[in-house]
Amino acid sequence: MIPLSGASATIGADQLRGIEIATEEVNAKGGVLGQPLKVIVEDSGGRPPSALDAARKLVTVNNVPLVIGEYSSGNTLPIGQYLVQQKRIHLNPASTSGLLRDLGEGHFSLVGLDHVTTKFAADDIMAQGWRKAVIIAPNNAFGQGVIEQFTKHFKAAGGQVLASIAYPEGQTTYRRELQQLAQAKPDVFVYSAYSREGAVINREASELGLNETPWYGYLLSMSTADSDPKTKQGQYGLEVNYIGPNGGAYQDAYKKKYGEDFRTTWNGYTYDAVKIAAAAINKAGSTDPAAIGAALKELGKGYEGATGQITFDANRMRDSQPYLKMKVDNGKLVLR
C-alpha cells in the first residue's frame, strides 16, 4: 500500500518500482512455496480515509498475510495499528516516527527510526568538537521528530542545543528564522531541508555571513540538492546509505528497467520489504502470519538487503543503518 495519488505520489511511484523489481526477481527464482509471488498494490491516496480503505480491502477481501506500507507516518500508524490488531504482519518501508516502536507484535520497521539516525548525527557532531548547536528542520512529522530526538541525543552526549526552529515549508525567505538562530552564537548550525527550502536557506545563510560557522546537513543530499555550489561549500553532514554493499546488482537492475538513476531514496526499502517478505514466507513454509513473523525475526538477525544489513531490535525495529559521513566539496558530496 503506497501513495500513488496525493501529495506524495512521486515517492509512491518510485516505491512501486522497487516492488516491481523485487517481485520479478522473486518469481524468476521460483516464487514462494513453489508458486509465483503475487503482490497486490493499492493506492493509499496519501490520506487516512483512503489508506484505511486500502488496508481493510487487503485484509478482509484479499486476505493477505502481510502488508507493506505506507510512506507518511500519519498513514503508517493507523494502518499499522489495524494490521497488528488483525494479527497480520506489517512491514514499514519508509516512516520514521518514533511512535511506530509501540505498535506491537506483528509490526516490523525496515528503516531506522529517527532516534537511530539522530543519535548518529549527535555523535558525529560531538566528534568534530562542536559543543553548542542550533537546529532548524521542517515543521512536519519528520522535522519535529528530528528536532526532538536530536536534542535528546545531543544533550545525552554532553552537548547543548541553544535554539531550535521548525520552519513552515514553502516560504520564500527564512531570514527571520536564521537571524534568530544566529543570535544564539552556536558552534554549528544543524539543519534538514527538502531541496527547494534547502536552496533558500543556504543562499540566505551565506548572504548573512552565517556560513563562516560550520553547517551540518541531516540527510545532506536531500538538503543540498538544489543549492548553489558556492553556498553549500564545506558543509558536513550525514547520509542514509540507501545502497548497501550488496546493493549494486539492484542499482543496475533499476537503471536497466527504468533508464535513469534512483528517483528517490525510498525504492530500495520497498524492494527489500518484498524480498525479505518472500524469504520469510519460504522460511516459514506457510502463509500463516504468526509463522511469517517468527521467520522475519530469525531473518532479522542479519539479512543482507539492498539498503545494507537489516537487523531488528527487541521491538522489531531496524536498529542500525549504514550511515555515511559526508561533506560538500566543489558542489559534490564526498566521503570524509
Binding site: 500513488l4 495519488s5 505520489a9 511511484a13 512501486l16 497486490i40 498494490v41 493499492e42 493506492d43 491516496g45 490520506r47 487516512p48 480515509p49 483512503s50 484505511l52 480503505d53 486500502a54 481493510r56 480491502k57 478482509t60 477481501v61 507518511s72 507516518s73 500519519g74 500508524l77 493507523p78 495499528q81 489495524y82 490488531q85 516516527s97 511512535l99 509501540d102 515543521n139 512536519n140 512529522a141 519528520f142 522535522g143 519535529q144 521528530g145 521548525a166 513552515p168
Partner: protein
C-alpha cells in the same frame, strides 16, 4: 468481502454526517463554508486530547462538541460583517490557522506526529460484531441527524433559512434577526460534524493535522454538488455514492487486471470529472432541492 462492505458503509455514514452538516449551512442557509473540515477537526482532537489525558471517551465527545460549537459561533460572528464570498474565504483561513495550531502545539495535540492509539469503539467485541456495532451506531446517528435536519428545514424555520439564503435583506425587513438565523444552523451543523470527527478518531485510532487539509472540505463539497445541494437525502446519497465509488475502484482494477496507477488516476477523474460533469449538466445534483413541495 462482507467485512469490507461494513467498513465502507461505516465511512459512508461518517461522510454522510459531514455532508448533512455542510448542507445545512450551504444548501439551506446559503453559508458558503470552505472551512468545514475544522469543525470535524474539533471532534477528532476532542477525542484525541481526552484520550491523551485519560479523561474517557464521553469527555472527548463533550470536549469536541464544545469546541465545535465555539468555533461555529466564531464563524457566525464573522458573518455579521462580511459578504457571503468573503465569509467563505475567512472560514477557509480559520480552518488553516487551526490546522497550523494543531501542527505546532505539541504539548496539546502531539504536533505533526499527532496522537495515536485511541481505542476502537466496541473494540472488545469479536469480529464481525465489533465493526457491525460501530456501523449500527454510525447509521443510527446518521438517521437521527437526518431526521433533525429534515425537521429543521421543513416548516417555517426552513423557510426563514432559505429566505436568508435568497434575500437576506428581505428577511431582515420582515423582522428576522439575521445574526441569530446564521448562528443556529452553524452551531447545529458544527455539533454534527464534531460527532463525525469523534467517531472517525476512534475508528481510525489516529488523529493528526494531515487529516484536516482543505482538500477534505472540498471532497465534502463535491459530495453535496453531486448529490444535490439543499436536499438532505441528496447530501447523504452524494456521500454514499462518492465513498463507495472511491472505495470500490480498486476492485475494477483487480477484475480487469489493470495496473495500480489506474486506481490513482481513476479516483482523481471520478472526483474532478464527476464534479465538473454535474456543474455543467446537472447543477441541481442527483436529487434536486424540493421547492414548494414539488421537485423543481
Amino acid at each position: 468481502m462482507f467485512e469490507f462492505l461494513i467498513h465502507v458503509s461505516t465511512m459512508a455514514c461518517l461522510f454522510g454526517l459531514l455532508a448533512l452538516s455542510l448542507n445545512l449551512q450551504v444548501g439551506f442557509a446559503g453559508l458558503v463554508n470552505f472551512g468545514h473540515i475544522a469543525l470535524f477537526g474539533c471532534g477528532t482532537y476532542g477525542a484525541a486530547i481526552a484520550f491523551a489525558n485519560q479523561w474517557g471517551p464521553l469527555a472527548g465527545l463533550l470536549l469536541g462538541g464544545a469546541a465545535a460549537a465555539l468555533l461555529a459561533l466564531a464563524f457566525a460572528r464573522l458573518g455579521r460583517n462580511l459578504g457571503a464570498d468573503y465569509w467563505g474565504i475567512a472560514t477557509l483561513s480559520i480552518a488553516e490557522i487551526l490546522r497550523t495550531f494543531a501542527t505546532n502545539e505539541q504539548w496539546l495535540t502531539g504536533g505533526a506526529q499527532g496522537i495515536h492509539g485511541l481505542p476502537m469503539l466496541f473494540g472488545s467485541l469479536p469480529t464481525p460484531w465489533g465493526p457491525l456495532a460501530t456501523l449500527a451506531l454510525c447509521a443510527v446517528l446518521l438517521a437521527a441527524c437526518w431526521a433533525l435536519c429534515q425537521r429543521l428545514v421543513n416548516g417555517r424555520y426552513g423557510l426563514a433559512l432559505k429566505l436568508l439564503r435568497e434575500e437576506p435583506q428581505l428577511a431582515s425587513s420582515l423582522g428576522y434577526d439575521l445574526a441569530a438565523l446564521r448562528r443556529t444552523p452553524l452551531v447545529i451543523s458544527g455539533l454534527i460534524a464534531a460527532v463525525a470527527g469523534f467517531l472517525f478518531a476512534h475508528y481510525a485510532t489516529f488523529v493528526g493535522p494531515d487529516q484536516l487539509y482543505s482538500a477534505e472540505t472540498f471532497l465534502i463539497w463535491s459530495m453535496l454538488i453531486v448529490g444535490g445541494l439543499g436536499n438532505n437525502l441528496g447530501a447523504v446519497a452524494g456521500a454514499f455514492l462518492m465513498q463507495f465509488l472511491l472505495a470500490y475502484v480498486p476492485f475494477v482494477k483487480d477484475a480487469l487486471g489493470l495496473p495500480s496507477e489506474f486506481v490513482a488516476a481513476m479516483r482523481l477523474t471520478l472526483v474532478g470529472g464527476g464534479l465538473l460533469a454535474f456543474l455543467l449538466w446537472r447543477t441541481q445534483g442527483l436529487i434536486p432541492e424540493r421547492i414548494g413541495g414539488r421537485h423543481a
